[in-house]
């Protein structure tokens, strides 16, 4: 399981726009590099990141090899109701990582 870090407030006022910062440990091997002996290194990247808020998708990103190692993705959402935010990363070679965070809306 890859290491994931999600940084977001635990509490927010209703209607407030909160910023969510996410980071995952992954080499994001591009598939364009070669070993010293000239053999291509196969691509191994995270291809998709999805964030759901109480089951509803609020953010989705398709990642390509041009995303740096240990992908950082920062985005915003409106705090509508208390609940859980689920973060899910999927990629090559069956890679999956997930994280969930609670948000209390006053």
């Amino acid at each position: 399981m890859a290491r994931t870090v999600v940084n977001m407030p635990a509490e927010a006022r209703r209607g407030e726009i909160i910023e969510i910062k996410t980071l995952t440990g992954h080499t994001m091997e591009t598939g364009f590099r070669h070993t010293e002996r000239g053999e291509p290194i196969p691509r191994d990247i995270i291809t998709q990141f999805v964030c759901t808020y109480n089951g509803t998708e609020i953010f989705r990103a398709e990642l390509f090899p041009a995303i740096s190692a240990n992908p950082l993705i920062t985005f915003t959402t409106v705090a509508t109701e208390s609940g859980t935010l689920e973060f899910r990363w999927t990629g090559d070679k069956g890679f999956t990582a997930s994280h969930s965070a609670k948000l209390t809306v006053a």
Partner: protein, 155 residues
């Protein structure tokens, strides 16, 4: 005895030589064609207007391996008028697509930050697709000074 400087020059030369030997001679034209094709896929041939989108990226980049990139789109982000997707494309990376982000009115603000790889000095384009179907773009030219021998496969 080999000095550090000599060693670096030799290995850089060997590595970049090996990498260039594998690339076809018309690589520039091919990448340009790929970039245009990627752009067509995003917009579907629709007109792309300048404005609304703000792409923030350092104009001079030491290390093309992790370049901070922020895209902000001027939009009220309401049910009627919001940003549906943000695409970032390059023209000289081995693959033009960088990231495609799908958002909606629940984002509150159309603002996304990530870190990207840039293979060369080039133009980076951010495109926003609005809920009314229009496309807006911002282009920034960046200078990348990353030594090719560190990322031989990318150049």
């Amino acid at each position: 005895m080999t000095t550090r400087r000599q060693f670096l020059i030799l290995t850089c030369g060997a590595l970049s030589g090996a990498a260039h030997a594998q690339l076809p001679p018309d690589i520039g034209a091919k990448r340009k064609a790929a970039a245009l094709e990627a752009l067509r896929k995003v917009t579907g041939g629709a007109e792309m207007r300048t404005g609304k989108v703000k792409l923030e990226i350092p104009p001079l980049i030491d290390n093309g391996n992790a370049v901070p990139l922020t895209v902000t789109v001027d939009s009220p982000m309401t049910e009627k008028d919001h940003v549906k997707a943000i695409h970032v494309l390059t023209e000289r990376n081995p693959q033009p697509n960088v990231v495609a982000v799908h958002i909606g009115p629940r984002a509150g603000r159309a603002n996304v930050t990530t870190r990207v790889r840039l293979a060369d000095t080039q133009t980076v384009t951010a495109i926003a697709q609005m809920s009314d179907g229009s496309f807006w773009a911002d282009r920034i030219e960046v200078v990348v000074t990353l030594s090719a021998c560190l990322e031989d496969g990318l150049i």
